[in-house]
């Protein structure tokens, strides 16, 4: 009852000095708004990064990378054959903890052409069927390569939708789905027939933009050539890479594009990548050890390979997120601190103004405790109202930030962060009110009554 009355009196006090109170609250408002919106943006970023990570093949994918021969083995580096199909077969035979083994034979600086239209896809790779499971591709139209295509090194390829968009026009522009199955394109001037096309891959954000038929905010023309900003620039975007891929049978790549390299009239058989997937994340360690043992045999004991797991990527992402959180948190915390100092300042000024009133209240029976509570509650009410306004402002701030600096990741407001922000700023209000409240409670009634 007394508490309720005290809160009412506090609200009245704040209402009497509307302008002053709002100015006081501003620090808390900005602090809470920046804390909440920062957390939302970082969360969006995190989601975007993880989305991209999964688009690149999921968490259980491990890359077997080429590595410089260790110094102590340098004298026999020519004995290692490099990563070849022999490794792949050996892994499939002797490493039962591996679920999928997918060899890739890539080619750099490829030009793809159809008629007069030329274009550089993100990658042109010779693969086995295992690549579908490895890189999480789904075919939407046509077929994938058969064993016959592989065996006879047929000139066939499967493309991503990005390739179709570039060479045949995108469905958005044409207003209808374009399926170029059976069409012929030239890859580095060799004719290939398109036999299949993958699904279109895109981030959540892009999907929304496309479905709502909105103009992509990242495509805004600011003057000059079109550009993209934010995390996920065009050639960085995992989805763009995924859509701009051309796959062909491994043997086609080997026979048709590696003929000029290699020794003894055998085209260069080294693979650009061997990707593996482990049976489950729990056996990641043993599985990699198995793979290592197998490869040590095929590479004659020369350690010119290395495993790169997505765990490293996750660590990397987590580190980035942590840094972003930390810097944002420090800024928001400083803002809240400044807000708290502002509240303390105003409360001190306010009790100075009201010394006489405090004296009257004491004379008619207010205890030190009730004066203390009154001032403290006033300060808490200011900071609490400020926090609520800050929550409202954070929505606006997020909108503003994504207007001036669009990213591909929708910020995600989190209730938990909002709660923490409100609790924290209320605590700031308590701390800021403590000193003025103690000062007011300790006033002697006589000198307070005489004051002014």
């Amino acid at each position: 009852m007394i508490l309720f009355n005290t809160i009412l009196i506090g609200l009245k006090e704040i209402w009497t000095h509307k302008f002053r109170s709002i100015l006081t609250m501003l620090g808390i408002v900005l602090g809470v708004a920046s804390l909440v919106s920062m957390a939302a943006i970082v969360k969006g970023m995190e989601n975007g990064m993880k989305e991209a990570l999964i688009a690149m093949g999921g968490l259980d994918k491990v890359l077997i990378e080429q590595q410089k021969v260790p110094v102590h083995q340098n004298h026999m580096r020519d004995m290692s054959p490099g990563r070849t199909l022999k490794d792949v077969h050996a892994l499939m035979q002797s490493a039962p903890l591996l679920k999928v083994v997918s060899p890739e034979m890539g080619m750099d600086r490829v030009v793809v052409a159809r008629g007069a239209k030329t274009y550089r896809p993100s990658e042109v790779v010779g693969v086995w069927k295992a690549v579908l499971e490895m890189n999480l591709y789904e075919l939407q139209h046509g077929r994938f390569f058969t064993e016959l295509d592989e065996e006879n090194a047929h000139s066939v390829c499967v493309i991503g939708t990005g390739v179709r968009d570039e060479l045949f026009g995108s469905p958005q522009e044409a207003g209808r789905e374009i399926v170029p199955i059976g069409e012929e394109i030239r890859i580095n001037d060799q004719p290939f027939t398109i036999v299949g096309m993958f699904k279109h891959y895109e981030s959540e954000m892009d999907r929304k933009v496309r479905e709502e038929g909105l103009k992509d905010p990242t495509q805004q023309q600011v003057g000059g050539p079109s550009r993209q900003r934010g995390w996920g620039r065009k050639n960085w975007n995992a989805f763009w890479r995924k859509n701009n891929t051309i796959y062909m049978p491994l043997n086609s790549m080997w026979v048709r594009f590696r003929a000029a390299t290699g020794t003894n009239n055998v085209p260069d058989p080294t693979l650009t990548d061997i990707d593996i997937k482990v049976a489950s994340m729990e056996v990641l360690g043993p599985a990699l050890q198995q793979a290592r043992n197998v490869l040590m045999v095929t590479h004659h004991g020369i350690e010119d390979f290395n495993f790169r797991t997505q765990e490293n990527q996750i660590e990397d992402i987590n580190k980035r997120i942590k840094n972003a959180r930390l810097s944002g948190g420090i800024i928001a915390g400083l803002s809240l601190l400044v807000g708290g100092i502002g509240i303390m300042n105003i409360m001190l000024a306010s009790i100075n103004e009201r010394i006489r009133e405090i004296g009257i209240c004491k004379a008619i029976g207010a205890t030190g405790l009730s004066i203390f509570l009154q001032i403290l509650i006033e300060s808490v009410v200011i900071s609490f109202l400020g926090a609520l306004m800050g929550l409202a402002a954070s929505k606006g701030l997020i909108f503003f930030l994504s207007e001036i600096s669009p990213t591909q990741n929708t910020p995600i407001l989190q209730g938990q962060v909002m709660l923490i922000a409100v609790l924290f700023s209320t605590a700031v209000g308590v701390v800021a009110g403590l000193f003025p409240a103690i000062k007011a409670a300790r006033l002697s009634p006589i000198s307070a009554l005489r004051y002014g």
Partner: protein, 241 residues
Amino acid sequence: MALVELRNVSKIYTLGGETIRALDDVSLDIGVGEFVSVIGPSGSGKSTLMHILGCLDSPTHGTIKLDDRMIHDASSRELAQIRNRKIGFVFQFFNLLPKMTVLQNVELPMVYAGIGGRERRERSMEVLKLVNLDNRAKHRPNQLSGGQQQRVAIARALVNNPKIVFADEPTGNLVSHTGEAILELFRSLSSQGRTIILVTHDPEIAAVTPRRIEIRDGKAALEVDRRLAGLDRLPGAAAVP
């Protein structure tokens, strides 16, 4: 039985290395229902006496008994409760809270006493009726005249039904005829059995009360009890002499 008993009360300040005896060995008894004035020139110690009697301050030496309770060594929290429940104050400058309505001002002591909203309102309206201001309950203090504000202050002093009411120069800030009306109000309260202590520097006002305590240099210099002298029974004694 005395309501207030002061025994050898002294209040000593040290101000700039100089010792000031604001009250010097004062002993006093004030009985239930008395109407007493404390008179003295400024600086005589009458305000200090009122502060100590009104539990706003503690004496340096001596003992005080209020309503059968020793209070000279009470904690500030206990003093606040005594002020709240047993004492009512009326000040020279009314000392109403400007942001609250008349009704809220009168309710305030009961808020600190922890009395519920409905009872607060009823009792406030009762005392406002007593001072003839129940029709101004929703006004703010600055919308009232000085005399009306002082009547609100009196209502506030009475609302917790205190044992004793202190008035510190209650007419000092009022024009004379309004001041007389306020004094008349005190007199009628006294005749209803309230214990009232009126602090003033004005002998004319002090003359209204049956008992007069004169303070000079921190000592109770002279006491005139008109009842003992039989003066209160003289015709016209109640009026201003």
